[in-house]
Every structure is written in C-alpha cells, then in structure tokens.
Amino acid sequence: MTTRAEYAIALEGVSFSYPGTDVGVHEVDLGIRRGELLAVIGSSGCGKSTLMKIIAGFLTPSKGRVIIGGRDAADIPPRSRNVGLVFQTYALFPHMAAWENVAYPLKLRGQHRNTRRATALKMLERVGLITQAEKLPSQLSGGQQQRVALARALVFEPQALLLDEPLSALDAALRVEMRDEIQRLQRDHGIATVHITHDQEEALSMADRVAVMQNGRIVQVGEPREIYARPANRDVAGFVGHANLWSGRITGPRMVETKLGSLTTEPHGRAAGETVAVLVRPEQVRIGVAPENMNSFAGVVTRDRFLGSFRRFDFRCAEVTLLGETSEAGEIVAIHIPPNSVQILPDRTNAT
C-alpha cells in the first residue's frame, strides 16, 4: 500500500451526482502516484469525465475528499489547484500566437514578458514546434494544436496533468504518433498524469496503471498487463482487449461446461454447479489438435482479418464462433485451447 504522501492526487470516497439524476461517480477511491501515468477507461457515460472535472475543481463532490499534493483541495478553487488540463478540442486561445498560448500561465504568474517568452519557446522546442511559435492556432494542424495545448499545460510545472480524451479528434495514424509524444513528455517531466479515454488500446499501450470505470464506479485498477491477463469481471474482460467470453457452469475441480463444450482448466477452486464466465484470449487459441484431443475442436474459418504482423480469424465449430489470432499463414481446420489459457471469472459485475 502506498501512503498518502506518495500520491500526487488522491480521491477518498468521492461521490457526485448531476442534479436530479443518478448519473455521476460513486464512492471513488483512487490514488495517482507521483510521476505515474494513470489511464481511466470506460465507455461513454461511465463517469470518467466527471471524475476529471472533480479533480480539476470544476465540480464539487457531494461526499469524500480530493487530496492534491497531500492537501485537501476542498477549498482550493480551480485556478489555484495548479493542475494542467488538456481538452479534446484543445481549447487554445484563438487570438494568441502559439508561444503566447504557452506563455499565458506564466503571464498569470507575473513573469516578465522576456522571461516567459524564453520559457515558452523552450517548451515549444520540446514539442517540436519552435518554428511555429508565431502562428495562430487556426494556422496549425490538429496534431500541432494538440502539442501546443500540452506545452501550455506543462509549462507552469503543475502538480499534475489531466488529459481528457486528448487524441480522439485526431485521425488513426496521428493518434498513434501522439500517444508516444504524450508519453515522452510525461516521462520527461515526471509528472503525475490522469489520462481519460474510451480507447482501451490507447490506455493499455500508454499507461503505467489503468483504472476501469463502469456506471460511475471504479471496478479495477492495475497495470495494463494485469488488467488484460486477470480482469476483475466479465465486463472488464470484454471491454479490455479482444476476448472469447462464454457463460459456463463448473462441472469438476478442473472442468467447466460451456456452449463450446467441456473445457479442461487449471484447478480453479470453485464449487461444482457454480455459474461463471469463461475467458479465452484470442492469441491463446492454438492451431491444430492437442495431445489426447484436450480442449480441441474442429471447424472452419469463417472470417480472416489480415492485420500485418498477424491475422485475427473467426473459427466456427458447432454453434460457436471463436476468435483466434495467429501469425501463421495457411488453412486452419482445428484449434485447441491450453488449459492454463482458460480463465474462470465471476459471472456479471458482482465484484471480485
């Protein structure tokens, strides 16, 4: 357990509902460690943007506390929270040149024009925009505006950085490029960062830790690898990464019954008859028949998606369509699932 002092930002039992609705966040406990990039993911309406507004101080929680840099932030207005924000639409000031946008927080802090210009230019250099310093936001591309917004949010050395869907206005190729850019800046500054996104791939590939939100609650927090490999429940498993998910019924200490058939698992320690969810990640599906036919199924490939370094196929056997991934070319007539790749999860959302 990390102590409170190690957190740049900590939320303790924070709740908030929009007036007259049930929508909001409920009993959220979450700590963002110094220097870490924490991604908050969830589908739209899950409360992740509300959470960001609470941290930034634009919303006041009805219950619980927001601790920033070890201090209760309840009485600190947004403008004094010393937290850098980047919006989906960048929210640059259209009448200020790129460098003036970046220098604005320094101006507010009373720095002399020459000093703040120098600092802003240095910051623009770090985001690779030194040649665009005199341009207005409308003269910059989407990716460049994004970089200016990042520079502006970092230049005053805030205690934390909050990114609200910063990449969703960019197109596919640029989005992947900007992931690296954001991560690099975040590492260079060693700044605690909350990254709000609905794109699980973005979260997994960038974050030190990922918090998964559902219906205003945080259902799992962990490293990307952990979230992916040991999802807390069926919904998290389905939301994070590709997944084969079936309902199952325990039929023995190492057996579970699914609509695909009876699957051998590692010892799972659950009682016979229990209803569970069964997860098999597509890359764990092996091609060909296993010794003694264990967890092996014959069938046909009904769809084959070439994704460059690998292919993702739909494999139809009996009534079930299974998702698999392989880097091997060639026809597939049978697959098998190693027992240690069959994961037993609690059915539905009723916790770990």
Binding site: A56, L108, R152
Partner: protein, 261 residues
C-alpha cells in the same frame, strides 16, 4: 434558377438605380428617366440647415447607441451564453425575437407613453432617441455576440484559462474580450447601419431639434424630386458605408451563425 435570381436582383436594384439617376437629373416629371445632368441637388441638400442639423444628430445618436450598446451588450451576451438555467435562455429568446415580434411603431408609442408623463418628461430629448435605438438594435448585437461565443467554444477556453490560473476578471479581459473583438466590431457596425436608417421610432419620439436624418428626409419627399433623390442617396451611402465596413469585418463563418454581417 439563374433566371429567377437575375429577375429578383433587377427588381431589387431598379429603384435604387433610379434614385441615383434622379439625384443627378435636371427635370423629372412623369417620364421614365429625368433629363439633364446636375450636381445642384446635392449642393442644395448640403446647404439646407435642417438637413445639416439632422445629419449631425443622426451621427451623434448612432455613436451613442454603439458605445452604450457595447457596454451593455457584451456582459449581457456573456450572461446569456454562460447561463445554465432554462429561464435565462427563455428570456434571451424573447430579447432576440423582439425586433421581429414587436413592430417599432408599438415600441415608439410605448415610449411616448412613458416619457410624456409628468414623472419622466424627457420626450424629444436626444437620450430618449438613443434609448429607443438601443432597444431596437441590441437584439442584433446580442445575437451576433452569443452566436460567436458558441462558435468559438468560449466556455472551454475559459475552463482552460481557469485551470492555468486565471480568475474571473482576468479571464474576461484576457480571453473573452479579445476573442470577441471581431464580432463586437461587426455587430456594432450593424447597429450603426440600423440606427442611421431608423425612422419609425425616431419620427414619433424625436423633438423638433433632435430629428434624425431619415425623419427630415421624409419631408423632402413632398418637395422637388431631384432634391428628395439626392437627400435619399446621402442616407443610402451612409448606411451602405456602415454595413459595407461591417461585412468586411465579419468572420468567415458568419453565414452559419446569424446575421453578423
């Protein structure tokens, strides 16, 4: 389509072209076009005392309307834009609709009632005139300003400024006002054009010495045609200059968000 458009434009511009021709014409009586060419009518208008006074009154009223409009309109537009409540939005709808829903004649008569009472005996003063013009033009200014605020996503800019450390007044000075420079300019020039052309309300609430140009102009219609033409062209040029400047100042996107020409 091209035919309809052309016919419409001809229909539109024939009267205006005739005015120009008439203002330079020698004599004109029951013929399609006047005969002769003279700049005499313009000289007569320029030397007419009541026209000169009215010209300056119009400019004065116009300027005052613009200045007060800017001072009152900007915070008002901001309040409408930022208002979360449905009530304020409804009120702003009413304000926008006013120039269409309430004929200026009705408003003018209301003004007469208010300002001819013993308690507020200001009828005929320049300030009542300015007040009237303000009511008639402010909706257009507000509409332009609020439209541009939405277009510019001012609320988000403000959130950003707030997170960077700016308080309310700092934001208003550094973010809101500069962002609105252009739309304030274009809105005010529209206000100016409307104020200069206003007749209905002015005709009823102006005193003899504070009659603005259009009111005096009406009397010219009963005199020599050439004189009336020249006097009308002066008004047209004044209004066109104002709105032409407005068109140049307007944002590229004005077609989308209203009459902010």
């Amino acid at each position: 389509m091209a035919v309809v458009t052309t016919l419409y434009l001809v229909y539109l511009f024939t009267p205006i072209v005739l005015l120009f021709i008439g203002s330079f014409g020698g004599t004109w009586f029951n013929t399609l076009l006047p005969s002769g060419f003279t700049a005499d009518w313009y000289l007569q208008v320029a030397s007419d005392g009541s026209f000169r006074r009215a010209f300056w009154t119009s400019l004065k009223v116009c300027l005052l309307t613009c200045v007060i409009g800017a001072v009152v309109g900007t915070p008002l537009a901001y309040a409408i834009y930022r208002a979360a409540s449905q009530k304020v939005r409804a009120a702003s709808r009413i304000v926008y609709l006013l120039p269409i829903a309430v004929p200026p004649l009705v408003l003018a008569f209301g003004f007469i009632l208010v300002f001819s009472s013993n308690e507020l005996p200001f009828l005929g003063s320049l300030w009542v005139l300015v007040g009237g013009h303000l009511v008639l033009t402010l909706p257009y200014l507000l509409h332009t300003l609020v439209g541009d605020m939405r277009h510019l996503r001012l609320a988000e800019q403000e959130l950003a400024a707030e997170s960077l450390g700016a308080g309310f007044f700092t934001r208003f000075r550094d973010v809101v006002l500069p962002s609105l420079r252009q739309s304030l300019a274009s809105g005010l020039i529209m206000v100016a054009a409307l104020s200069i052309g206003e007749f209905q309300l002015s005709n009823l609430v102006a005193g003899f010495l504070t009659r603005p140009y259009p009111v005096v102009l009406l009397q010219a219609f009963y005199g020599a045609t050439g004189f009336a033409c020249a006097a009308t062209v002066v008004l047209l040029v004044l209004a066109l200059a104002a709105s032409g400047a407005g068109a140049l100042t307007a944002r590229g996107a004005q077609d989308v968000h209203g009459f902010s020409a």
